[in-house]
Amino acid sequence: MGLLDYFRSSQPKGSANVAKERLQILVAHDRAERHRPSYLPNLQREILEVIRKYVDVDMNAVSVNYEQEETHEVLELNIVLPDTVRNRA
C-alpha cells in the first residue's frame, strides 16, 4: 500500500456497507414472505366474493397485507370501492 492509498483508506469505506444494507432489506422481505400464513390467498378470494355480492368491485379491489410486529400480527385489508357507489347512495 502506497502513500496515497494510506490517506485514501481514511475516506468512506468500500462496497461492504452497501452489501449489508441491501442484504438487510432483502432478508427482511424474504422473512416476511416466509411468515405469511398460507390461508391469505383464499381469504382474499372469499372476501372479494362477499363484497361482490353487494358492490360491483374490481377483481383486484381487495388487497390483503400481513405484517409481523414485535408482539402481534397485523392483518390489513384494503378495499377500494368504485366512485359510483357514493353516487348511488
Binding site: 494510506y6 452489501a19 449489508k20 432483502l26 432478508v27
Partner: protein, 269 residues
C-alpha cells in the same frame, strides 16, 4: 444414539464438503465414532476430499435399495479408526433418496456411531431437504457475500419448518454459523462483509470463521481433510470449530488482519 449434524448452505460452492470432511475428521480424532455421508447424489465429491475414492464399492443408494448392507458400503478411514465414509451414488437419479430409506440408514448408523455428519448438496431441492430432514444440529456454511448470506437465511427458514423436528414439534434443530473463505484484509478495507455484518443479519451461534486459505486446495489435491494440516490457518480454524462444537470456549483466531505498521503501509510493505 448418534447426533446427526447436517452441513448445509443453500448456495453452492461455499465450502460444505470441505467442512464436512474437516469436522468429521476432527470429531473422530477426538475419539468419537463418526460417519460422514455424501448426500450429493450424482455429483459425489466427498470421497475425493477424504482421499478414499478408489475404495468405493457400494454407496448410499445401494444401501437404501437393499443392494448392499451398511458394513459393505462404509469405508473406514486409513488415518483414523473412528471415521467412516458413506459415499454418494454417482449415476442414479436424485429421487433415489427416499425419506424412509434415509431414515432407515440413519437409524441403523445411530446404533454404532456418536456422530453422523451429512454433507448436503447445494440448493433447496430434494437432496438438500433429505440431508437436513433428520438433523439434530445444522452447520450453516456461509461466505461473506450477499447471495450466500441470503441463501443461508432461506435455509434457516427451511430448517425451522420442514425438518423432522419441526414437523413433530420437537425441540428445534440447533443452528450454527460457519463463516468460510473469510479475508480479514478485505474486510478491513471495507470490501467484504465482516463477521459482525453477517451476524447482524443471521444472528446464529458462531461455530467458527475459516479464512480464505491456499491450504484448502492443497488438501483437496492430496485427498487429505484440511483439518489434518496443523500448519495451516484453515486447518487450525477448523480444529477450533470442532472444539467449540464440543462445548469448548475458544477465542476466534484469523478474524483480524495482521496489522501492518505505519511505515510499512507508508512505503508499500
Amino acid at each position: 444414539m448418534a447426533r446427526i449434524i447436517v452441513i448445509t448452505s443453500g448456495k453452492g460452492g461455499v465450502g460444505k464438503t470441505t467442512t464436512a470432511a474437516a469436522l468429521a475428521m476432527g470429531l473422530a480424532q477426538r475419539g468419537s465414532r463418526t460417519a460422514v455421508i455424501d448426500f450429493d447424489v450424482g455429483l459425489r465429491n466427498l470421497d475425493l476430499i477424504m482421499g478414499c475414492e478408489r475404495r468405493v464399492v457400494y454407496d448410499f443408494v445401494n444401501v437404501i435399495n437393499h443392494e448392499a448392507n451398511l458394513n459393505q458400503a462404509l469405508i473406514r478411514d486409513k488415518r483414523c479408526d473412528n471415521l467412516y465414509v458413506l459415499p454418494a451414488s454417482q449415476t442414479r437419479d436424485k429421487d433415489a433418496l427416499t425419506k424412509e430409506g434415509v431414515g432407515r440408514v440413519l437409524d441403523e448408523l445411530s446404533q454404532g456411531f456418536d456422530f453422523i455428519v451429512c454433507d448436503s448438496p447445494a440448493g433447496i431441492e430434494h437432496g438438500a431437504t433429505m440431508a437436513m430432514y433428520y438433523a439434530d444440529d445444522a452447520v450453516v456454511v456461509t461466505n461473506p457475500e450477499v447471495s450466500s448470506v441470503r441463501d443461508s437465511d432461506r435455509m434457516l427458514g427451511i430448517l425451522a419448518s420442514k425438518s423432522r423436528r419441526a414437523e413433530s414439534n420437537e425441540e428445534p434443530i440447533r443452528e450454527f454459523l460457519l463463516l468460510t473463505r473469510y479475508d480479514a484484509t478485505r474486510v478491513d478495507n471495507g470490501e467484504m462483509l465482516s463477521v459482525k455484518d453477517v451476524q447482524d443479519i443471521l444472528s446464529l451461534n458462531l461455530l467458527g470463521v475459516i479464512p480464505e486459505s491456499k491450504a484448502v486446495l492443497n488438501a483437496s489435491n492430496a485427498g487429505v481433510p484440511v483439518i489434518l494440516d496443523r500448519e495451516s490457518d484453515a486447518g487450525l480454524a477448523y480444529g477450533d470449530a470442532v472444539g467449540r462444537y464440543l462445548g469448548e470456549d475458544l477465542p476466534h483466531r484469523f478474524v483480524n488482519a495482521e496489522k501492518k505498521g505505519f511505515f510499512s503501509r507508508l512505503f508499500g510493505g
